[in-house]
Symmetry: C2
Subunit: 229 residues, 2 copies
């Protein structure tokens, strides 16, 4: 059995690697949309199974760490948070794939409008994702709270996108199918922001739990020996 | 420390209770939409914090069970599955709330069309939810696979709803805002079906893991004493 801290390092590394994979997927799917680039969208769809495999690997690693090391207190909360964050990342990968699919569906329509707000939403949620992963790995609640603050900005951009697209559809019914595709793209970006927010909330709970749940932790530590620290 | 199996019973009970809460929320939100009943939509929105509290209670219970009982093999997989299912249920509660919000937004519009497919989608995903929770509690992979099969039916209904609403918007641009609300309702129902599917997949993994991962389990059992069985 390898040393617990070495395996925790591996888990951190894999979560960041998975974060990088889904970050690329978001980036490519939105570029594919803006540049009407079919190849980029197809690449996102082709890469999605690798993200799913990574999710299963990380789940397996966490389950092994739980089984073999019987962690308590912060280590235990870290591992249960890792399970949740893993699920959030996999869903973000799905959402990037949905954007890529919408992008392919829009490929044969002229662009409805310059779509400046959609790339703006995309870079905002990409930055939220990077920050919440950094916050998780470094236990940085300051950065996690920073992510939580961005969520309102995402919602405002989404409202602007919706209002524009509704008005465009009412003026020109011919663009309805393309505009509905773009509404879903904005919705998918908003949900990526929601998942980044979930991750940031997990980080705050993970770190804050140490302070505010001190008494509960003491009880846990008394009831069984605390392994390797 | 209470007996592990008693606490597992309590966990099962709480997950089913949470399942019942979100099932009611779906039912009420869709009835509110179809009957244009404001009170039902408001009830769903009012009840949502209780679902969030239940999610936190269940997370706390699972974390305590992991910390105090050091479960391995199937018990460990059961607890990690419970964490995931808990998250899925909480998201379903959010989606029911989104439907209730759309229902309120639609309250002052005449109904776009009879919407027969939306109630059909709703009762299908409600039945998927009930089945996957039964499957989880009873370890019933047959019923879990049954849920996985329903997913295509949900997708077909969603395609029918989308096609209808797109055509309606193109014929009559005045209904665009209401039709977009209904497109989101269909999308939310589809996602409820996706979460039920996630739960069903967790059940198959949980139960099947015992058979197909037998060698891995042996290794785990050798490396540490297997508690209470």
């Amino acid at each position: 059995m390898r040393h617990f801290t070495v395996e925790l390092e591996e888990l951190n590394h894999k979560l960041l690697e998975m974060g990088g994979m889904v970050e690329s997927a978001i980036h490519r799917s939105v570029r594919s949309l803006v540049e009407q680039n079919k190849e980029l969208a197809e690449q996102v769809i082709r890469d999605e199974p690798a993200i799913n495999r990574m999710e299963m690997q990380i789940d397996g690693l966490v389950t092994r760490l739980l089984a073999l090391n019987q962690p308590v207190a912060r280590d235990l909360r870290f591992l249960t948070s890792a399970l949740k964050i893993n699920t959030d990342l996999e869903r973000i990968g799905d959402l990037a794939q949905h954007i890529a699919e919408r992008s392919l569906s829009l490929m044969h329509h002229p662009l409805v409008k310059p779509m400046t707000d959609i790339p703006k939403m995309a870079s905002l949620v990409q930055s939220m994702l990077l920050k919440c992963l950094d916050a998780f790995v470094n236990g940085d609640t300051e950065m996690a709270r920073n992510v939580l603050l961005s969520d309102d900005e995402v919602d405002n951009l989404r409202d602007a996108v919706y209002a524009d697209l509704l008005a465009t559809m009412q003026r020109d019914p011919g663009v309805v199918p393309a505009a509905v595709d773009l509404i879903f793209v904005a919705r998918n970006l908003e949900r990526i922001g929601d998942h980044a927010t979930n991750i940031a909330e997990d980080v705050v709970f993970l770190v804050k739990g140490i302070d505010v749940r001190h008494h509960a932790e003491d009880e846990t530590d008394l009831s069984m020996p605390r392994p390797r620290e």
